[in-house]
């Protein structure tokens, strides 16, 4: 158990370095080798539970949304403390959640659907590294649909680049 936690922590650190600190290095490298493209990504998702994020059987008000930078799926250090109560809630057992990823309106809708999903998965990996069970966390991306703020300025964009946490009742 401790060994497993340590190794998942290690992966989390690598992930954090990779998604945040190493982005410049990755950019410089992107044209050259295809070998560096290979990456064993996160934990497979569980089968769907039948719950639907915007339906009545999901409580979307229990936890604060996690916000993201433009075009980024890195969980910012300032947002990380929001994950503590979620991880703790899931470690208690018997509960499962849906993480819904969203983007601002800039960029194409299809690109934003993928980016929203990547954001939800980034939060999911963090929670798993904090001891939450992979089988208890679903993801979905709405991309630029269902904005939290319908405005077109940067303050609206910042509110829309988010992952919302829905607790399945």
């Amino acid at each position: 158990m401790t060994a497993r936690t340590l190794s998942t922590l290690g992966i989390a650190v690598l992930l954090a370095l990779g998604t945040g600190g190493c982005s410049k290095f990755k950019k410089k490298d992107a044209g050259a080798a295809t070998g560096d493209y290979d990456f064993v990504s996160g934990s497979p998702l569980p089968e769907r539970s039948g719950a639907s994020f915007f339906a009545g059987n999901v409580d979307r008000s229990m936890f604060q949304p996690v916000y993201f930078g433009y075009d980024s799926y890195a969980v910012e250090p300032g947002e990380r403390s929001k994950l503590d109560p979620i991880a703790s809630f899931l470690r208690g057992g018997g509960k499962s959640i849906i993480l819904a990823g969203f983007t601002d309106e800039r960029g194409t809708p299809e690109y934003n659907r993928a980016l929203g999903e990547r954001r939800a998965q980034a939060v999911r990996e963090e929670l798993i590294s904090m001891g939450a069970g992979a089988a208890d966390i679903q993801t979905v991306s709405f991309g630029e649909e269902m904005p939290a703020d319908a405005g077109g300025d940067e303050s609206a964009h910042a509110k829309n680049r988010r992952v919302e946490i829905g607790v399945i009742k």
């Binding site: 998702l45 089968e47 299809e110 999903e117 990547r118």
Partner: protein, 392 residues
């Protein structure tokens, strides 16, 4: 630096024009006597067709042949080819004669818009030796009902009809080349699934419904498979999957998000975008799997690629000019240029002729001639329109 080089319009537009017209020049030389060209276009006259529906059909033909780009519309006296015929009783009898009065095309078509578009495409094929776009169907997302639903229309914006009525979120349509099937991303289940509609029978299948998000079902050229973004492994990756959702095969393993898969015309490769290296960039990969290769577009942002049916060019969305722009990367020369769209534009898709693109701008569909730079709003009035796609 690269950006300013690519945006110099004159020289590059000329170069592109020369490249695009090279095959046409070659074919025109085979019949130099009867071909009168105005610039690099074939001089064509469209006389008013006889019969009760003659005026209506003539108007459609003139619009189609003008938009086609291959022709200079002139008087009969100066024409290399003249279009004529009759339209009545739900039937079009169409003819094309050359300068010497020789009949190069004579055929009967159904009446109305469908027949007129077919006639126009036959004229393009017979006279210019190119595939026409007039019979193409365009699918897109519209918000008229208050929800995002999928609509379909003729390429010139006529005959708009609503295809989905899910009342949830229906987005990301892709048409098969022949238009017999349409895929889209729907949220009826609460998750993002890829639905496939048989456009003939209207039957629908929730085809790709893995855990997580499933989106971007792009049909292979033969219509038998789809490229798609699937996140079941814990990351959005590029997959190839059967049109019924079976036989799913993962192609990429990356840290980033893959999206926007589009097939090469022979089905051997898929181009897609990945933000594995920061901002999205284009990669190509064998559709059977293997190592992806980055396509050096020279631009810092490249998403939603679309491979031309002739295999030589990839159109995509780039960031610039205070918004987003349509760019084309030529696989033969390695050159990239951004196209003049007069405002923020995204999601370009090649037509059957590998010359015209449709794209989304300000909630409407625009048709862009990549050779002349001429662009025109063709579909609007269904609320806010996005994500156009068309048949080939």
């Amino acid at each position: 630096m690269t950006l300013s080089r690519f945006s110099a319009p004159g020289a590059l537009a000329l170069a592109a024009f020369a490249i695009a017209c090279a095959p046409f020049r070659a074919s025109a030389q085979e019949a130099p006597v009867i071909t009168i060209r105005k610039g690099d276009q074939i001089a064509l006259a469209v006389g008013t067709l006889g019969g009760a529906e003659g005026n209506a059909v003539t108007a459609i033909l003139q619009n189609d042949l003008s938009l086609a780009g291959w022709f200079a519309m002139v008087d009969a006296a100066r024409a290399g080819y003249t279009v004529g015929g009759t339209a009545q009783g739900g039937q079009i009898q169409g003819t094309v004669t050359d300068r010497n009065g020789g009949v190069v095309l004579s055929r009967t078509y159904p009446g109305g818009r469908r027949g007129a578009h077919q006639f126009a495409d036959d004229i393009v094929e017979t006279v210019a030796g190119k595939k026409g776009i007039a019979s193409s169907r365009v699918a897109f997302v519209g918000t008229r009902s208050g929800r995002k639903e999928i609509y379909i229309a003729d390429y010139d914006g006529s005959g708009i009809s609503q295809l989905t009525n899910d009342g949830s979120i229906s987005v990301g349509p892709n048409l098969s080349a022949d238009g017999s099937r349409l895929s889209y991303t729907g949220y009826k289940s609460g998750y993002a699934d890829i639905y496939v509609i048989d456009t003939g029978s209207g039957s629908r299948n929730r085809a790709v419904k893995f855990p997580g998000t499933n989106t971007g079902g792009a049909f292979s050229p033969d219509g038998g498979r789809m490229a798609a973004t699937v996140s079941r492994d814990g990351n959005p990756e590029l997959y190839v999957v059967g049109t019924d959702g079976g036989g799913a095969r993962r192609l990429t393993r990356s840290r980033g998000a893959e999206s926007g898969g589009s097939w090469s015309p022979d089905g051997s490769e898929i181009v897609f975008s990945s933000d594995d290296g920061g901002a999205p960039q284009l990669y190509r990969i064998s559709s059977g799997g293997g190592a992806p290769r980055r396509i050096a577009t020279g631009l810092g942002y490249a998403s939603d690629p679309n491979w031309s049916p002739d295999g030589t060019k990839i159109a995509f969305t780039t960031r610039g000019g205070g918004g987003f722009q349509v760019a084309v990367h030529d696989l033969q020369t390695g050159q990239t240029r951004t196209l003049p769209t007069g405002g923020s534009a995204e999601d370009p898709v090649w037509g059957a002729n590998s010359r015209h693109l449709i794209y989304a701008q300000n909630g409407a569909v625009y048709l862009l001639d990549s050779v002349t730079g001429r662009n025109l709003k063709v579909i609007e009035g269904v609320g806010r329109i996005s994500e156009p796609t068309w048949t080939r």
